[in-house]
């Protein structure tokens, strides 16, 4: 359990750093776009950015508080450890992740074929996304083939 505590402390440091970096980056971008930028940004995009930013920050804060309280409470620490290392849960994550990626590649490939009849920009965007997801899958497959 001591090893797991060290792992949580490292994660806590990483999450806090990311949160600070994220807030700073968002503030810089907001100021830049708001004062110097000539980007024609719509209200919808700004709302979307704010929404996503809020959710990301809320998730970061949730995990940070969760880890801090776990480091102070042995029972909670054990519960988090069990939740994270439970083999059935891990299997569900792996299976859903693998199947999800396959569906994503298939969906993007199908959508790019359909989009090709209507708009070239959408076609190339979807094709790019499809290749991106397929490349990630291939790289991960190679990585895990070498690892295990």
């Amino acid at each position: 359990m001591e090893q797991y505590k060290d792992k949580l402390k490292k994660r806590l440091f990483f999450l806090t750093s990311c949160l600070i970096l994220y807030i700073v980056a968002n503030c810089v971008m907001y100021v830049y776009v708001g004062t110097k930028g000539n980007v024609n940004i719509t209200n919808f995009i700004q709302g979307f950015q704010f929404g996503i930013g809020f959710v990301v920050m809320a998730l970061f804060v949730y995990h940070i508080t969760n880890y801090v309280s776990a480091l102070r409470n042995e029972k909670k620490l054990k519960n988090i450890y069990i939740e994270e290392t439970d083999e059935r849960k891990l299997m569900i994550y792996q299976k859903s992740g693998s199947a999800g990626m396959t569906f994503a590649i298939g969906g993007l490939a199908g959508a790019s074929v359909l989009a090709g009849y209507y708009d070239t920009t959408i076609f190339f965007t979807l094709l790019g996304a499809c290749f991106f997801v397929a490349t990630i899958r291939a790289v991960l497959k190679l990585y895990y083939q070498n690892k295990y």
């Binding site: 054990k78 069990i82 439970d86 083999e87 059935r88 849960k89 299997m91």
Partner: protein, 73 residues
């Protein structure tokens, strides 16, 4: 896979939560094992068997597992 987990748990007057905590898994995993929806890994099977001071094959029923014998399944 059929198991004797539920039977052993009741014999030892243990709840699913207590057994789960003792072997380091979630209660849902114990439920799935008892309902034969999930097959335990070798490590988990060992932990459960050791918890009840029994051999793995006495807790888990391997009779329906297909095995290779002389190259055929």
């Amino acid at each position: 896979m059929k198991t004797k987990i539920q039977e052993l748990r009741k014999k030892h007057k243990l709840s699913q939560e207590e057994l789960a905590l003792a072997v380091g898994v979630t209660r849902q995993t114990i439920t799935s094992l008892e309902c034969e929806k999930y097959t335990a890994s070798l490590v988990l099977a060992y932990k459960i068997a050791r918890y009840f001071h029994m051999a793995i094959e006495d807790v888990f029923d391997f009779s329906e597992v297909e095995v290779f014998e002389n190259g055929t399944i």
